[in-house]
Amino acid sequence: MRDLVKYVLQNMMKRLTRSSLTIISILIGITAIFALLSFGQGLQKYINETAEKAGANKIIVQPRAFGPPGSTPASLKERDLDIIHRVSGVDQVAGTVMGQTEVKDKNAKIGKFVFVSGLEPGPNLRMVEEAFSLELEKGRNLQKGDRKKAVLGYNYQLSDKIFEKPVRLGDSITIKGVAFQVSGFYKEVGNPQDDSNIYITNDDAKELFDTEDYSYAIVQTKAGENPGQVAMAISEKLRRDRGQKEGQEDFFVQTYEDALAAFSTIITVLNAVLVIIAMISVVVAAVNIMNTMYTAVLERTKEVGVMKAIGAENSTILGVFIVESGFLGLIGGLLGIGLGYLIAKAGGAAAAAAGYSILKPFFPWWLTFGCLVFAFLVGLASGYFPAKAASKLSPVEALRYE
């Protein structure tokens, strides 16, 4: 075995240019695949962490219609929240009155259109914050009895992001023409949409948007309950209250896990498409390896003849060439993973600078290992036919080869 490796390495060194070019060609594809997958894994990890933080015990209830608050034909009212609360297995429920509207800081002439969400201060607040991965960074949370107080998303603290100048604690901002005092900031969520959100109390939001309708409700189930079953029970109770049959619902109940699973499927599919496209370059690299190996067999015809003449078996010859091409793949894979790591890191830093810190590459051990094994297998597979050809050479013909 040691001899085999030594022989293979010697051969690769002898044709340094050719070996390095072949390695480069497989390296490029592995780099692309490794980097793309690390971003996919990063997003997946983010989703899992979000799910973990939010807890698997959350359910979201939404009206099925869309549109600005107050104008939608279907709605979620206080009465519905009471019904949901009484469903067995439900621990807490909190509604959110949400709208999109114009905000201005004291300097801004032109307002920005952002989402303003109403939160229910009090014992349920932590649950909603959990559900949306919100964590207070500065100041204080909304409290019961707060009027015209706002907690802002992370991006308001930056200059030239939402407004020219950063907003500070205690500053006054105008939401839909009404002055609010900034009482706190949430930590960075990692995407520009969530980080531009504004949170006020539900009472203020109802007044601001002139509505009694909730945009959605977050439900937390009791410990030990199966969220899927509780979700079904909620659906049934709401249907009965509204006199609707199955298929006629004007609301939508989904466990948090299902919602995230749907999202994670989309990510997986998009990532897979990109990886498949990148895979084309690995196919080309495989062709290159095959070419290199055919050339190697040709050049070493005489050598093969000698080996056979002194008693080398066909399988030994096959092994020598296959190991050589496997090595080409392995080295390409190693270098590709290194380069891919650097590129992914750089890409992640660029995305974070642009406000998308959610796009952070993640490198689980199996990704590194998998790419390495894959590169090795590609090497082995593309070396198979040339090696087979070498093993089938007749010793006499091979010795005579000029």
């Binding site: 050719r18 594809g29 999109q100 509207t101 298929g247 080309v284 070419n291």
Partner: protein
């Protein structure tokens, strides 16, 4: 002389048939992938611009500013009927039409769906809406001013897969927000996910049903007179609305957009996404190029003695360079031709399958002669480029050493 180079190159390629083939395969896989992806990308872009094109190049869309989503989302001060009449009087404006947009609950076949609805204006405004949205029907008729309790529905609602598990057709009775309506027309497929699921309700019914007052408008379309400068008219409308709504320049709470401006915004986003995909696919061309380089280095090595002989009987360095340079360029060009052909077939094939499977008008292939030419020329350039270093190595061989090689 050039003919000689080609003959020599072809002969050399033939001598190492297997290697030449593998090198060719390497380059044309990449070219085929890129050509077919660009073809699909261009097709998508074409389909999107077609959808915008249906707005016509002489129509200006006016909306009050709101958030993302359909017109009217998050709007604080809606447009008014008075705005529409005033805009119609602006110089260069031929005619205008106003619409309202909302989402409604629709009940049919014991099932409920939530759909977008828009108002079908009265009188002359109808013609402009019909023209600007390019409305054609597959069955039934459009609404008249005197109609009440009628709707015209988008093409997808006329299919069994519309969510009601039963298709809407002329005569179908549906309930919208609890009130009864009758379908009197089904639209032709537009390939737009909004307008293929839209419900048109006559303006008066619409305002009664949704409780919108008689003045509100979510969207105004203005058609410019032929010969008038659309950008000038746009500025004029902006000036009018600024005055009317009492806002300063740069602080507008409304938007006036020409189809070109909207289209170019959408196109640049699409282009950025496509470009990313092209680059990832383009990597394989690079790998193919490295394959060519490798083959050429091997060729130089194998023909070391040949080069030695040529040099010793007086061949110039430039001649040796050309020999190898032409050979690698040739591999590139042939790979390009084959790749472009395969890519062309693949692109139209995938588009046909995708269209049949997903029933989306957005999936189509669009391959211009320029793309094919570009692919072939690009491949030739890659071949030549990656042949430069091996060709230089060939010229650098000393004739004496080269003749001694292998002995």
């Amino acid at each position: 002389m050039i003919k000689e180079y080609f003959r020599y190159a072809l002969n050399s390629l033939r001598r190492r048939k297997l290697r030449s083939w593998l090198t060719l395969i390497g380059i044309f896989i990449g070219i085929a992938a890129v050509v077919s992806l660009i073809g699909l990308g261009q097709g998508l872009q074409y389909a999107v611009s077609q959808q915008f094109g249906s707005l016509g190049t002489d129509k200006i869309t006016i909306q009050a500013s709101g958030g993302f989503g359909p017109p009217g989302t998050g709007v604080i001060r809606p447009l008014t009927e008075k705005n529409r009449q005033d805009i119609e009087r602006i110089d260069g404006v031929k005619r205008t039409a106003g619409r309202l947009v909302d989402s409604v609950r629709v009940d049919f076949n014991n099932r409920a769906e939530f759909l977008y609805t828009t108002s079908w204006p009265q009188g002359e405004q109808k013609e402009l809406v019909k023209e600007s949205l390019d409305i054609k029907l597959t069955s039934g008729r459009l609404q008249k001013d005197s109609d009440t309790g009628t709707v015209v529905v988008g093409a997808d609602l006329g299919k069994d897969s519309n969510g009601f598990q039963k298709r809407l057709e002329v005569g179908s009775k549906i309930e919208i927000n609890g009130k009864k309506f009758t379908v009197i027309g089904v639209m032709k497929k537009k390939g737009s996910f909004i307008f293929d699921k839209i419900i048109f309700i006559v303006d008066k019914d619409y305002r009664d049903l949704l409780g919108r007052n008689d003045e509100d408008l979510d969207l105004i379309v203005a058609q410019v007179e032929s010969g008038a400068d659309i950008n000038k008219v746009k500025e004029e409308i902006e000036r009018y609305l600024r005055r009317e709504r009492d806002v300063k320049k740069g602080e507008e709470d409304f938007s006036v957009s020409t189809p070109q401006a909207t289209l170019s915004r959408v196109e640049s986003t699409l282009f950025a996404v496509n470009l990313f995909v092209y680059i990832i696919a383009g990597i394989s061309i690079l790998v193919g190029g490295i394959g060519i380089m490798n083959t050429m280095y091997t060729a130089v090595l194998e023909r070391t003695r040949e080069i030695g002989i040529m040099k010793s009987i007086g061949a110039k360095n430039s001649t040796i360079f050309n020999l190898f340079f032409v050979e690698s360029g040739l591999i590139g060009a042939v790979g390009g031709i084959v790749g472009a052909g395969i890519g062309f077939t693949l692109s139209y094939g995938m588009a046909a399958i995708g269209r049949a499977q997903l029933e989306s008008e957005l999936i189509s292939a669009q391959i211009s002669p320029w793309l094919l030419l570009g692919a072939i020329f690009g491949s030739f350039a890659i071949g030549s480029l990656f042949g430069i270093l091996p060709a230089i190595r060939a010229t650098k061989l000393s004739p004496v050493e080269a003749l001694r090689y292998g002995k």
